[in-house]
């Protein structure tokens, strides 16, 4: 893979033929995967909707990663509204960064505030002023310039402006081209961000060379690298998740660096002194690890996400295989499973037989289904933000779910409302965002992820079980809302098939 000559990363609907609109069962979707419906010739690649609800763009999702980078100032090159969603992050961001480095600052960002005059004459002047101000005022290591739709439509040549400005700033300038209208698949954001990181952050670290380096030191260094992995974290992961994965890998004798979230610029340089890049989610990382492999020869592993027991087992084994540590891994897995299994018993007794619906990112929801099945909960259906090849490894961990409903929809709470009305699950495990609608349907909700909770690894299974049990014990808040607050959809809508508004192929 090499897209780095290009100004920006390609859209996922083109690169991966990702789909955002589909309705059927898991069996249907497996069939589609086999037949290649999601592929380049496939019927589903460009599917859309006649009715749609706001879904987020790659700009907003890019910020989810960019806001975590330490020692950086972000410039939103756009009118005043783009990226203002950072407000929802401003209060907690510093706390999360300080879990990694107590000296960290919160998010600082500038909006170039493009107005009507700029739309006509171009945003260059304001961009220059903003960059120079950020450099002088905040003295960051990097200034990240994320551009919204407007500069791209005006035709601002951001890369050239920044190349020129780079000679005047102490900070390195990192353009991220993430204008929202370029893609329907929000996850393109990950590529957009990695594109900027690969071009600007990733380079061989400058290490001081000793004139005479004792052999022992060289051997030690080589050994260190041979036992070091990078784990690519995601914005929705918590520090507790990281510590759990670190614990498991340390148990195999491996050391870990987490990038990209909450990383410092130099972490990306040292990440090249590593012998394996481990993804926890293909949807998130394939662009990065493929490029690193092509350019620096570091192999990678994209398989399953370590959520649920079987997925965690598998994730550990795959890593262990790379290092020839299968035996050690087997022992670790056995021991961990034995302990965990016992700890889940009380929750199984309470939760078995309940039904659930899961909504969010494709990889995460299917893996979370494994936890629910482990607890004896019946999963009735899924809503996936988008759909592509990266879910395949997770199918192995699931039992007998072929009849579960699958709605591929980035947000689109109207479809979910219709489906939930039919399925009437006891529990909902969902992504943040559209839950005010689901809440008014009266179902108790457990968030699918949360930056202060543990979901990953073996401890994550226990934590999910424990919290799900609590959520299931009292659903009065949502129940009372449902009794008293109406939903915005007409009665006729619930009578229609939930996938009525999906159109197979956008008319071009």
């Amino acid at each position: 893979m090499n897209y780095l000559e290009a100004k920006s990363a390609p859209a996922r609907e083109d690169r991966l033929k990702a789909n955002i609109a589909f309705g059927g069962t898991l069996r249907d979707i497996k069939g589609c995967l086999k037949k290649g419906c999601f592929g380049s010739e496939g019927c589903l690649n460009l599917a859309g909707r006649r009715f749609s609800q706001t879904q987020g763009c790659q700009f907003t999702l890019s910020l989810a990663i960019l806001n975590t980078l330490r020692n950086a100032v972000i410039i939103m090159h756009a009118p005043i509204g783009c990226g203002i969603c950072s407000i929802s992050n401003v209060g907690v961001n510093k706390t999360f960064k300080q879990l990694r480095d107590p000296q960290s600052e919160g998010i600082i960002w500038l909006s170039t505030n493009l107005d009507e005059a700029d739309v006509i004459s171009g945003g260059e002047k304001k961009l220059r002023e903003a960059v120079l101000y950020a450099d002088k005022e905040f003295r960051p290591e990097t200034i990240i310039i994320a551009n919204g739709c407007v500069p791209s439509l005006i035709g601002d040549d951001i890369d050239s402006i920044l190349a020129d400005l780079q000679t005047q700033t102490a900070a390195s300038l990192v353009p991220i081209h993430c204008e929202g209208f370029k893609t329907k698949v929000m996850a393109t954001a990950y590529d957009a961000v990695y594109h900027g990181i690969l071009k600007n952050y990733v380079k061989k670290p400058e290490r001081r060379e000793y004139i005479a380096e004792p052999d022992l030191e060289k051997i030690k260094e080589k050994y260190r690298i041979s036992r070091h992995v990078n784990v690519l974290n995601v914005g929705s992961m918590s520090r507790a998740d990281e510590l759990e994965l670190q614990r498991l890998l340390n148990a195999l004798g491996l050391t870990v660096t987490f990038i990209p979230c909450y990383a410092e610029p130099e972490d990306f340089e040292y990440s090249l002194e590593s012998s394996l890049n481990v993804s926890i989610c293909g949807t998130h990382d394939d662009y990065f690890v493929e490029h690193i492999k092509a350019k620096y020869g570091i192999p990678f592993l994209i398989d399953t996400i370590p959520i649920g027991r079987k997925n965690t087992d598998r994730w550990i084994l795959k890593i262990a295989e790379h290092f020839g540590l299968e035996k050690e891994a087997q022992r670790l897995i056995q021991e961990e499973n034995r302990e965990l299994d016992k700890s889940l018993e009380p929750f199984r007794q309470k939760l078995a037989g309940k039904t659930a619906f899961i909504a969010g990112g494709e990889v995460r929801i299917l893996a979370t289904a494994e936890i629910l099945q482990d607890l004896g909960i019946k999963v009735l259906g899924f809503k996936a933000h988008h759909f592509d090849q990266f879910v395949e490894p997770i199918f192995d961990s699931l039992e007998d779910l072929d009849d579960a409903i699958v709605d591929v929809a980035t947000n689109q709470p109207f479809e979910q409302a219709n489906i939930l009305k039919r399925l009437k699950p006891d529990l909902l495990v969902t992504h943040v965002g559209g839950n005010n609608i689901a809440a008014k349907q009266g179902v108790p909700i457990l968030p699918l992820f949360g930056p202060s909770y543990n979901y990953l690894g073996y401890s994550g299974v226990f934590e999910v079980a424990r919290r799900l049990n609590r959520v299931a014990r009292n659903g009065q808040f949502n129940k009372k809302l449902a009794e008293n607050v109406p939903l915005p959809f007409k009665q006729e809508w619930y009578e229609k098939d939930p996938f009525t508004y999906i159109k197979q192929q956008d008319a071009v």
Partner: protein
């Protein structure tokens, strides 16, 4: 000529429009823009306005055409037409407003033409041009109101005597909008007025439709809501007055007298209402007489926020709480022509104090002004330091507050560290809440 902004304290025109519609029951926005705009703005408005929530059909339920590059190249009108039609099929509303984002305005989609195809629908469907580059949330509020005033508010030649509309409190942007409107309504009703706050408790779409019958518009802001007031004047022949945001006894008395005078209400009635309110107010405030003086609860203060709050809060803490505000920073995008009226609000403080007033949109500027007004200690043994001080601002001021060790009360957008339901800071009751919250900070560790 505008400039870049360091951490804006408002969203864009589209965001202001969405927040305003969020405040009208069963009003349905249909966004004609890329897929990100609605989601992005909801995240800002929800969190920034003390967790306002998506409401009936906001948040991620916002209907949105989600145009992509192909639509931008070929034009997004067909997609918009399809989206309006499907929204009318699915979403149960009483009015639908089609709002635009920047990209569709730049490619020249003919919003008005597409929307006019839905004239026959049994509920009104109205176009409003709200591209982000037209201005901030405040502009969005004016644009939505102007559209409603123009195309939806019923024309009534015969005005209802003593009936008024309240303008100038921008939902969400004023985090306490709903509580504030409720208090203002309560007070004016005591004067015998029929009060339409357009949004908030007791109001609905019908209130807006009937707002043309008012005999006076009261703009409780020196700069926001004035375009809407002018539209009412021009189209519905309703005169308007501007008052500041009334906070506290001093501010609210002046407010009530000004309104009473404009409507020729018997001064005896007004004075009686004021006396009643003040009696209750001082009955509560008097409780602090002990503690305030027992442990010296006078404080220096710095006030940062929008053009409605900063003058009102600064005067309140100066002239009623007896505090010493040294710096007031107004963070809105204020037109140069509007600055004199705002500056006037800082004149003639009864305390005799003259806080330094700055107009600045940048979050990082507040600290610079602080060092400007009060030089740092250069190792002097005897140094008259700036403290104890309370910082009244937004959540952006938290770092500064921590750095200086000032307690912080967040009152202006964004307020992400509080849950705001019906809390208010306006009027007499609001001032009591503000007093509770401010002094609450000071006794929190006791």
């Amino acid at each position: 000529m505008s400039k870049f902004i360091d951490r804006p304290r408002y969203t864009c025109a589209l965001g202001g429009a969405l927040a305003t519609l969020r405040a009208i029951p069963r009003a349905i926005p249909i966004i004609h823009a890329s897929a990100g705009c609605g989601h992005n703005l909801h995240n800002a408005i929800n969190a920034g306005a003390g967790y306002l929530g998506g409401g009936y059909c906001g948040g991620l339920s916002l209907p949105s055409s989600n145009v992509v590059e192909r639509d931008i190249v070929f034009g997004g009108e067909a997609r918009l037409r399809e989206q309006i039609a499907s929204t009318l099929e699915i979403v149960d509303g009483d009015i639908y407003l089609v709002l635009t984002g920047c990209m569709v305005e730049m490619i020249g989609d003919d919003l008005d033409a597409v929307v006019s195809e839905f004239l026959d629908y049994d509920k009104p469907v109205l176009p409003v041009h709200t591209p982000s580059f037209r201005g901030s949330s405040y502009t969005g509020y004016e644009l939505v109101l102007s559209a409603l005033i123009h195309k939806f508010v019923r024309k009534q030649r015969q005005k209802t005597p003593l009936s008024v509309n309240i303008l100038g409190i921008v939902p969400a942007q004023d985090v306490f909008w709903q509580g504030n409107l409720k208090e203002i309504k309560r007070l004016l009703e005591k004067l015998g007025l029929k009060v339409n706050t357009l949004f908030g408790e007791g109001e609905d779409l019908e209130s807006i439709r009937n707002s043309g019958a008012a005999s006076l518009n009261i703009v409780v802001s020196d700069i926001h809501g004035i375009q809407a007031a002018r539209k009412y004047e021009e189209i519905h022949d309703i005169p308007y007055i501007t008052t500041g945001l009334p906070i506290g006894a001093v501010g609210t008395e002046a407010f009530l007298r000004q309104v009473a005078q404009a409507l020729s209400i018997d001064p005896a009635v007004t004075e009686r209402v004021i006396a009643e309110e003040k009696a209750v107010y001082y009955n509560y405030l008097e409780r602090l007489a002990d503690l305030y003086n027992d442990i010296d609860l006078q404080r220096y203060a710095v006030v940062v926020g929008d053009a409605n709050y900063v003058p009102a809060v600064t005067r309140f803490i100066s002239d009623e709480l007896g505090w010493v505000p040294e710096l007031a920073v107004i963070t809105d995008l204020v037109d140069d022509n509007d600055k004199p009226v705002l500056l006037k609000r800082f004149e003639n403080f009864e305390s005799g104090l003259h806080p330094v007033v700055k107009f600045d949109t940048d979050a990082s500027s507040v600290k610079k002004y602080l060092t400007e007004i009060w030089p740092a200690n250069h190792n002097d043994k005897y140094f008259d330091s700036f403290g104890p001080t309370v910082l009244i601002g937004s959540v952006y001021e938290r770092d500064l507050a921590q750095q200086y060790g000032f307690p912080l009360l967040t009152v202006s957008f964004p307020v992400t560290n509080r849950i705001v339901l019906n809390h208010a800071y306006a009027g007499f009751n609001g001032a009591l809440s503000l007093t509770e919250d401010l002094f609450g900070l000071l006794v929190a560790a006791r």
